[in-house]
């Protein structure tokens, strides 16, 4: 793990206009590190959808990005309501998002499917009333 770089961000849950700041900061760091453009783009999309999810559904959370020689791993952890039915949440178009989320340009049930689509691997660890941790990995 000595060659790994770990980035940590608190994602505020109360300000929709700031959603995406952690993703922008991650993108800038990966650019400085000289990672390939297509990798940075995929990480940015996954991280941004994850960040939006945390803001929309869970009143924020914590994002940890680990850049190792062979992968970029994003862990998006919240203490929100949890996901009662993960299979449904993974279906494109299924959503519990609020009208406010839709006003943002999100909340149409595309977030988790999009994250999976652009990741090499993704796992969802969730418990109702406890929170959700999404781990997404993009191989280098």
């Amino acid at each position: 793990m000595d060659d790994s770089l770990v980035l940590e961000y608190d994602v505020p849950g109360d300000d929709f206009t700031r959603a995406g700041e952690a993703s922008s900061a991650t993108k800038a760091t990966l650019k400085r590190l000289g990672l390939p453009a297509d990798i940075i783009r995929r990480v940015s999309i996954v991280m941004y959808e994850g960040e939006i999810n945390m803001v929309i559904h869970a009143d924020g959370g914590k994002a940890t990005v680990t850049v190792s020689p062979d992968a970029v791993t994003m862990v998006l952890k919240d203490t929100g309501p949890g996901i009662p039915d993960v299979d449904k949440a993974m279906q494109a178009g299924w959503s519990t998002a609020s009208g406010a989320a839709r006003d943002l340009g999100f909340g149409a049930g595309m977030g988790l499917p999009n994250m999976k689509k652009w990741s090499d691997r993704m796992t969802i660890d969730t418990a109702v009333g406890v929170g959700t941790t999404v781990t997404a990995v993009i191989d280098l």
């Binding site: 959603a19 959808e49 595309m110």
Partner: protein, 117 residues
Amino acid sequence: MQIRKIRELLNAELLCGEEMLDDEVSYGFGADLMSDALAHTDSDTLLLTGLCNPQAIRTADMLDIAHVVFVRGKRPDEGMLRLARESGICVLATRCTMFKACGLLYGAGLSGGELHG
């Protein structure tokens, strides 16, 4: 298609990124749902949207999209334009509807690209 030509076709106002008027884009993508843009666009794309909030600019930035047109007379505020400048994004605004803006550009030869997956 050159951004300068896009501005003319849409009778659009340039709100920031004057130095990018000679840039070229290969594709156009129109959406108010940012998740659709995040699912289906290439970086070499003009994003047309009626979603007038910071997430439209943020989405473009995540996608390495450098040119955004706000349709239906939507006007981004100064905070959004500041974010666009910081992200190196050229912003235009037109009174055309989404349908008309996309139609004008497609008719003039801008490709729609393909869905990803």
